[in-house]
């Protein structure tokens, strides 16, 4: 009797396991992994939430990093992601082509501003014509993201050098940056073009200038009143309810018309934080780019997500979060998934 019971139990257990294996158990939701540049955190988190409401059958997992880390997630760290969104579209072609991707779409932009609060010294006086004079006053303190660690940091140095050219004042960079660091920051002029050499170790000489690893930590200093002004992206300043000085388009890295002017300034990094990236970056318009990596686990869901971002719902969310979008442009119209083609304004023209 006992033997019969044991055999019956084994048969029942076997049946249960087989039914499970046949998928009668509730299936796990597919996961859509979205990795994005840190400055997109607010619109992207909201967009992902809305996308999940619209498609509850998929689980969106998001992760924010610096733009180069976003790319390295797939290329160097060997992980799988379904959609990548970066603050510099050119990173996709330079670091992912052709093994990991073969197209990108430019979809958003940004610009540099000088953020401040009501408590900032000379808050009532500062404007887009005198900001560099106010910032160079001995009693005024300002901050920027670390140029070796954050794109907003080296873009801020570019803007300061471009200001010299635009306002035709030869010492703006010297008074704001070069004189305030040890080792100093050298600028080399060559045939009307400028290269800023950022030393491997860059330390402020005093509290006049503060560097922090990311632009969000710089905002914390501003919030605490430890600095008066901060170089930031316009979207970030607006998202944090800060006042800001708009910089002229020749300086703020947002105008395609000024792209040649921006390219007159380059930065040279004292060390190569990522071996895949060269030691130099030239000034250029800030355009955000996205792609679906070739090894995405859920390419069809990734397409749906990109359609959502580029479509009216995505645009609305970005606008509500003060992040400017542009009519999407693809570099390689023949490689993008056909489902995305209707969203593209045109092929790359720059």
């Amino acid at each position: 009797m006992k033997v019969k019971q044991i055999i019956a139990g084994i048969i029942l257990a076997g049946l249960f396991l087989s039914l499970n294996a046949c998928g009668l158990r509730e299936k796990e939701k597919p996961k859509l992994k979205v990795i994005y540049a840190g400055s997109l955190i607010q619109p992207l988190e909201e967009a992902s939430k809305q996308f999940n409401k619209l498609y509850p059958e998929v689980e969106v997992e998001t992760e924010g990093h610096g733009s180069i880390q976003v790319i390295r997630y797939v290329t160097d760290l060997g992980k799988k992601a379904d959609v990548l969104l970066v603050a510099d579209y050119s990173l996709i072609s330079s670091l992912m082509y052709d093994d990991y991707a073969n197209w990108y779409i430019k979809f958003a932009t940004n610009q540099l501003v000088i953020a401040y609060t009501e408590k900032s010294k000379y808050a009532a006086k500062i404007n887009s014509a005198n900001w560099y004079e106010i910032l160079s006053l001995p009693e005024v303190k300002f901050g920027l993201a670390h140029p070796l660690l954050d794109a907003c940091g080296y873009r801020s140095l570019m803007a300061i050098q471009l200001a010299e050219l635009y306002y035709q004042k030869p010492n703006i960079f010297k008074y704001l940056i070069a004189n305030n660091f040890d080792p100093s920051v050298k600028v080399q002029k060559d045939d009307g073009n400028y290269t800023i050499f950022i030393p491997e170790v860059i330390k402020p000489l005093s509290q006049k200038v503060s560097l922090r690893g990311g632009s969000i930590q710089v905002l914390a200093l501003l919030d605490a009143g430890l600095i008066d002004y901060a170089f930031e992206y316009r979207s970030v300043a607006l998202q944090h309810g800060l006042k800001f000085v708009e910089l002229p388009p020749q300086i703020n890295l947002s105008s395609p018309v000024c792209d040649d002017f921006y390219r007159r300034v380059k930065v040279n990094f004292g060390f190569q934080r990522f071996s895949a990236i060269g030691n130099e970056q030239a000034g250029k318009v800030i355009f955000y780019g996205l792609t679906i990596p070739k090894n995405a686990r859920n390419p069809l869901w990734a397409e749906e997500y990109v359609k959502f971002i580029l479509g009216p719902e995505g645009k609305k969310i970005f606008t509500e979060h003060e992040h400017p979008v542009i009519p999407p442009e693809a570099d390689n119209l023949y490689q993008i998934p056909p489902a995305l083609a209707p969203f593209i304004k045109k092929e790359k023209t720059w």
Binding site: P183, K186, F197
Partner: protein
Amino acid sequence: MWGKRSKSIFSVFLVVAIICLLSIYIYGHWQNGRISWKLTLTGKEGTKELTFYQIKEMSSYQGWGGFFTSVGVVNGPDKYKGVPVEDLCAQVGGISPKDCLWVFSPDGYSMVFSYEQVRGDFVAYDPQTLKEIPARGLKMLLGYEKNKTFFTEEEGKPLRIVLAGRQKLLTEGHYWVKWVNKIEVRPVKKGLREDEG
């Protein structure tokens, strides 16, 4: 069919074979569990290679540390154990205020630290508010344990840079280099004033 003697020989042979197979299996497991990672140290007095186990035998420091990513995702604070980086530098001639420290990992990531940073001079943040708070006695470690277990692959197994101290504080995540396999003490390149350029 078989004689008594043949049976005995066969039994002995069987026992020996089982022992051999078991030894191979155990040795294989032991080898798999062993960490074959090597750290290359370079300084004023040349280059030295240390195995993971040689590093583990050095005098260690334990403290609390944690970090946050560029979008504010907080990891820790947790209890970390490792070797002070200054002690590692001492093995190849030490580090002075005129030097800096280059740290590399095989995935192509590198980071340069100033002399002051090697001695623990970092901006620290409150784990709850992420606001800056004064840090005392932070140490830069080449860590190998988190909460009394070796790091996982994701955490930087087997060696990563750790900033730890007595207080439960956070530091910026980009300093916590994972999978460290090379450390170099180099003189700081002399910078130039703009007007010298």
